[in-house]
């Protein structure tokens, strides 16, 4: 990837497309990316909720972990590659079916979160995982995984030679299946390879907006062509980082570096579902002692959703109890375009975390009412395949 000399920012293969669309470019995770296009964050946000939004997420860290000496027995090879990554994370990777993806967390020895990531089992090859990590943490994550792999497996970064696109929204499936017939057959959190312009692209039915949609890994050389082909459909508009953030906030999804960091455990982040049952029962993941004790009630803080009355409470705003005593802090907050009001994620002691709990947030020194509500703030609309009977 090219680097711009001024700020040493990397660009993605879609940089010219963003410039041509008058995207307002900002530095983000070491890359120059559009925070919005001329239509603005509000319009882009609502378009994605109603139609389909196209995002350049090439700053993220896609990679493949491949067993060096596969036996040829697909199940044994999968077990072997799962055994490499599992000691770093709290998810059940051994139990993934071919083509299945799991959201999981990379943890440190004290149960704090080094990153949140997606791990998928190859739909075709034994002993192969598809792993996507966050932009800001990717170098450290990859180094950890490589160290764990030793000479048993090889980690191949896919972030330099490929672009990663996300197509999200209720009309995404119709658009995607027109370009990659069969993509509509994928269930939520499944992936497969498809042909596009005589190249292989990887299409995953996943995303971070709360909507149905896809994330697509495409070689750099074909990325602009795929971008254009998706935008040629009237149902699709490009969406910048601003609306990406407001969409994920409404979906109640944590953002690494804000709602998750190396001190925050999965239990505290209310991501208990990401600690798979098998791993929990075996207590064989980093920080298991702390995390299992927290599950039993030894928890000092938990992530909650807040609806805020008045000005948006941004990251760093104090959360107060009804009498004005500081009890916690906002970790992400802003305006929810779909709801027309301010929302926030933050951490409070469990005693204050009950839905309906009346709290306050301090914005510019003034206390404003805030109520604990269930998340997501806007219901998820992921595509769940009906269970075969």
């Amino acid at each position: 990837m090219a680097e711009t000399s001024a700020e040493n920012l990397k660009t993605t293969p879609l940089y010219e497309r963003h410039m041509n669309a008058n995207g307002r470019m900002v530095p983000f995770g070491g890359y120059s990316l559009p925070v919005q296009y001329p239509s603005g964050i509000m319009t882009e946000h609502k378009w994605c909720r109603e139609h389909a939004g196209l995002f350049d997420v090439s700053h993220m860290g896609p990679s493949f972990l491949l067993l060096n000496n596969p036996s040829g027995d697909a199940e044994a090879d999968h077990a072997a590659v799962a055994a490499i990554i599992e000691p770093l994370i709290c998810g059940d990777i051994a139990g993934l079916k071919p083509g299945q993806i799991r959201y999981t967390l990379l943890l440190n020895e004290t149960g704090g979160t080094i990153d949140d990531l997606m791990v998928g089992r190859s739909p075709v090859d034994g002993g192969a995982l598809y792993i996507v990590v966050n932009a800001g943490t990717k170098d450290g994550d990859f180094a950890r995984i490589e160290a764990a792999a030793g000479d048993k497996a090889k980690l191949t970064r896919a972030d330099g030679d490929n672009a990663l696109l996300a197509l999200q929204g209720p009309e995404a499936v119709a658009v995607m299946s027109a370009l990659a017939p069969g993509a509509e057959q994928l269930g939520f959190m499944q992936y497969a390879a498809f042909d596009f312009a005589d190249q292989q692209i990887i299409v995953a039915r996943s995303g971070y907006t709360g909507e149905d949609g896809f994330e697509i890994l495409v070689p750099n050389a074909n990325a602009p062509e795929l971008w254009d082909a998706l935008l040629a459909d009237d149902r699709v508009k490009p969406i910048g980082l601003g609306a990406r953030d407001s969409l994920r906030l409404e979906a109640g999804l944590p953002l690494y570096g804000h709602d998750l960091d190396e001190t925050i455990s999965p239990t505290e982040a209310d991501l208990g579902f990401a600690v798979s049952k098998r791993r929990r029962e075996a207590a064989d993941f980093p920080g298991a002692a702390r995390i299992l004790a927290e599950r039993e009630g030894a928890l000092s803080r938990i992530r909650v959703g807040l609806i805020v009355d008045g000005a948006p409470a941004r990251e760093g705003a104090e959360i107060l109890d009804a009498s004005g005593t500081a009890i916690g802090v906002v970790t992400s907050g802003g305006f929810a375009p779909s709801l027309g009001k301010a929302i926030a994620l933050g951490f409070v002691p469990p005693a204050y975390a009950e839905h309906g709990s009346k709290l306050q947030v301090s914005v510019r020194g003034r206390a404003q009412p805030a109520e604990v509500v269930p998340t997501p703030f806007v219901p998820h609309r992921y595509f769940r395949k009906p269970k075969a009977s």
Partner: protein, 121 residues
């Protein structure tokens, strides 16, 4: 009637001893969709450069400073229900507050429209 500007992209339209303060079209464009406006209290005494109001876009909060010293005489209550007025019509319907100018000489230190236009080229 004359309009002056600050390097922080506030304007003050002077009508007699009163100034009408808002943000420029350039500023509203840069901020994007405005979703909340925190207005000053009527009667508040401001010194030049004091924080007078806050406008919030989807992404961030931005302070609006007093271009000159004075006392707030009126606020644009319409912005409470319709903050997007600042985007739609920053120079007229999207005004933020009116100030009784304490020292008209302070206006001389502000930018005229040519100097402001130069700044935002």
């Amino acid at each position: 009637m004359t309009t002056k500007f600050t390097p922080d992209h506030e304007y003050i339209r002077v009508e007699g001893s009163t100034g009408i303060v808002g943000i420029t079209p350039f500023a509203q464009e840069a901020l994007g969709d405005i979703v909340f406006v925190e207005l000053p209290a009527v009667g508040k005494v401001l010194k030049k450069g004091d924080e007078a109001a806050v406008v919030e876009s989807v992404k961030a909060a931005s302070e609006i400073y007093a271009p000159v010293s004075g006392t707030v005489t009126e606020i644009n209550d319409e912005l409470t229900g319709n903050p997007g007025l600042i985007n739609a019509d920053p120079e007229a319907g999207g005004w933020i507050y009116k100030i009784a100018i304490a020292d008209a000489a302070e206006l001389d230190g502000l930018l005229d429209s040519d100097a402001y236009a130069e700044l935002t080229l």
